[in-house]
Amino acid sequence: MNDITSIAFLTSVLAAAIPAGTAILYACLGELLCERAGVLNLGVEGMMLMGALGGFAVAYHTEQAWLGAIAAFAVGGALASIHALLVVSLRANQVVSGLALTLFGSGLSAFLGRDLVGRPAPASFGKVAVPLLSDIPYLGSILFRQDALVYVSYGLVPLLWWFVFRTRPGLNLRALGENPATADAMGLNVAALRYGYVIAGGALAGVGGAAISLATNPGWSENMTAGRGWIAVALVIFGTWNPARAAFGAYLFGGVEAGQFRLQGAGVPISSFYLSMLPYLFTIAVLILASRETARRRIGAPAALGRPYVREERG
């Protein structure tokens, strides 16, 4: 069969890594916005699942893939607004709320989607070759024969990088995560802004789900995100809260995922169980490295991440 060292094989792995990484990338960028605002959202997995289901359901009934993507955006944002209500307004524990939403999202999506399991997708995002660019040897077929959601994400990464590091609202966003008391005293509406970023982050996670159910694996099956939401959370740390580095990490995981299938296809004698463990082992390794307190300081985690902001009562 295929020779796993050939250029052709490598190109096909990389070309598959991009869409596989794109689903993670959307979720990761969403989580990044949320954490930059100082809110930890562990509900990403649930938001991706609800986005995947919502996107597929709308596309199934309207036969419009774009409407599906928009629906995924809305569903993810709606689920995230529950998180915002709980942790910003009610100051609930962010970890507990996030975990609850993941469990809720996976349960609800399984329940609502039981009639859609195995249905063929009437509309999905197919591969579109970009004229000229797709003719570049190797690179063209890796980067520019992809689906529309991939192309959108190409634009989103530099846009978010520019927003976070080069704009006034981006500066305000970083202040929210570093020192909300200062942001408050400087006249920013901490609660409203955190709501906005949590919801926007959840909406992007929803699109990440749709990138699976409408592009890489068109269709719906229970728990189809298979832990990618958790990988996205780990990647935000791996990417040191920087959209460009997060994109690198997302494609790396996409590569691990794509390589896993291709290696099996090439008949490499390694148990598929080991291969499917790889992304999660890597996630654990990243989290161990990043969660050491000294490491946290060095890599610049938002200082107020995970802490609810309460204007100090009693002067």
Partner: protein, 518 residues
């Protein structure tokens, strides 16, 4: 407009603010003019910060009217106050450490443009710094700056944001005496430029040096507004407290004879002590200290020069990275805190409610914490609640701790009563060494007197005391010798009776005076 018709910059009439059952401000009238420095003085808890938080838009008053430059206003958020030209310099600086000075200035500003333009902000800040003598490197990141520099950043930022009314909440608490003098000159210059400057403090010398007028708050009410020229410390203190202060806060009134000072044994012996701070950087870089029986050794220094780390290494709460700590000749370096406590070391930590007491636990549980393992409070693995109650009642009565009852959570006590309870517990075992960090910070004058009396009693009992304080008057009144910490080293140890705040201030700033230890 004629001077007589210029409206007040700030006018607050009948401002009332309640927090649950506590009335923090009770119908306060306060007015300040453009071009004046107006001091707001009062004891802790008198309502100064609450009043200013209302002015800053952080709190919404329950009643009362607020006018700015003659216009009635109602603030719903800090944004509204900023838009009215009100700028606050809070006690805890409102700066993002990881941002540059320019980024901190831009933060939250409403100017046009979505793109971050740090270059123009840097130019504006440089220009403002030049004009008002507040030079700061606008490209530096805040964490790289000293406390004094950070305060300058706060002030320049307010000017950059167009503030006309500048409110300073205890601005000198973190400064050396020399830095304070600079700040006072700056504030006078700002007032001369037509700014309205409000200066909150309880240091009456500074208030009299800087202010044109002084408003005194007591228990949430404005009791008087006086011209600074026509008043003095004593009169202001009487207005603040509502009575004359009891004697005993100044050294001349001290009743305790300094006995047998030449042949006292050394209780605490520290040699070349080294330890890291919370950020993993060296906080103590070779400290040598001896504290003798019957002695109070004061430790002065600007906040963050190793005071907390010194107390924590002695009491075993922070790992020692080099050097030795001996208590009564026994090496206690890096021993567990429990062992050190049993060796006769008591600790009144800086963070009394986090490290010293358990805020959610009741008075009894907090009171018995040092001795619940032993009889009579313990019988085998069981607590004897009755004995604990008796012990607690005795402790509370002996130290005038005013509490709703033994079973109330310690959180509900006032700061002064919390501190008295903590000291009572720590001193109940008659320790050989007491390590006390800012024991009177944030407590009312009455409790401070009690605490000072307790410290003097330790002295006459023959115990050694290491007293770390930011209050130079307190150190000068209580201590036998004063060691000054600067950047984790001892800058000098001086005889408390032969020194003065100026001399200490130079040492605190890291300047060794030509004639060291006078």
């Amino acid at each position: 407009m004629h001077a007589a018709t210029v409206p007040h910059a700030i006018e607050m009439i009948g401002v009332t603010k309640r927090f649950g059952p506590v009335v923090a401000n009770d119908g306060v009238d306060f007015a300040a003019r453009p071009g004046e420095v107006h001091a707001l003085v009062g004891e802790n808890g008198a309502g100064k910060s609450t009043l200013m938080s209302i002015l800053a838009g952080l709190y919404h008053p329950d009643a009362g009217v607020l006018s700015i430059h003659g216009e009635p206003v109602e603030f719903r958020s800090p944004r509204d106050a900023i838009d009215c030209g009100i700028g606050m310099v809070y006690q805890h600086f409102m700066l993002v450490d990881s941002f540059t000075v320019a980024e901190n200035a831009i933060l939250g500003a409403r100017d046009a443009g979505i793109v971050l333009d740090t270059a123009s902000a840097e130019r504006d800040l440089a220009r403002l710094g030049e004009r008002y003598g507040l030079k700061v490197d606008s490209r530096a990141r805040v964490w790289q700056l000293s406390v004094g520099e950070q305060q300058r950043v706060e002030i320049v930022r307010l000017l950059y944001r167009g503030a006309k009314i500048l409110v300073f909440d205890e601005p000198t608490a973190v400064l050396t005496p020399q830095e304070s003098a600079d700040l006072i000159r700056t504030l006078r210059a700002m007032a001369a430029e037509g700014f309205c400057v409000v200066f909150i403090s309880h240091k009456l010398d500074e208030v009299l040096a800087v202010a044109d007028r002084v408003t005194v708050l007591r228990r949430g009410r404005a009791v008087a507004t006086v011209e600074a020229r026509t008043t003095d410390r004593r009169a202001l203190a009487r207005l603040m407290v509502g009575r004359d202060l009891l004697p005993g806060t100044s050294r001349s009134d001290s009743m305790v004879p300094h006995t047998g000072k030449d042949i006292r044994e050394t209780i605490l012996e520290i040699r070349d002590l080294r330890a890291n701070g919370d950020k993993g950087l060296p906080a103590l870089s070779g400290v040598d200290l001896d504290v003798h029986a019957g002695e109070i050794l004061g430790v002065a220094g600007v906040a963050g020069n190793g005071q907390r780390e010194l107390a924590e290494t002695i009491t075993g709460l922070r790992p020692v990275t080099g050097g030795r700590v001996r208590v009564n000749g026994t090496d206690m370096t890096n021993r567990p805190p429990g062992d050190i406590a049993r060796a006769g070391v008591a600790h009144v930590p800086e963070d009394r409610l986090g490290t010293g007491l358990v805020p959610g636990a009741d008075l009894t549980d907090n009171a018995i914490m040092r001795r619940y393992r032993r009889a009579p409070l313990a019988r085998g693995p069981f607590l004897v609640r009755r004995a604990a109650a008796v012990f607690t009642d005795r402790l509370l009565a002996a130290h005038d701790v005013i509490a709703p009852g033994r079973t109330a959570p310690v959180r509900n006590l006032s700061g002064g009563n919390q501190q008295k309870l903590l000291l009572a517990r720590e001193l109940a075992g008659e320790p050989q060494l007491l390590v006390a960090v800012h024991p009177t910070r944030g407590v009312d004058v009455g409790a401070a007197e009690t605490i000072h009396r307790l410290l003097r009693e330790q002295q006459s009992r023959g115990a050694a005391t290491l007293l770390i304080s930011e209050d130079l008057d307190e150190l000068l009144a209580l201590a036998d010798r004063i060691a000054v910490l600067y950047e984790g080293r001892i800058m000098g140890i001086v005889d408390a009776r032969a020194t003065d705040p100026d001399h200490l201030g130079l040492l605190m700033a890291g300047i060794a005076p030509a004639a060291a230890s006078a």
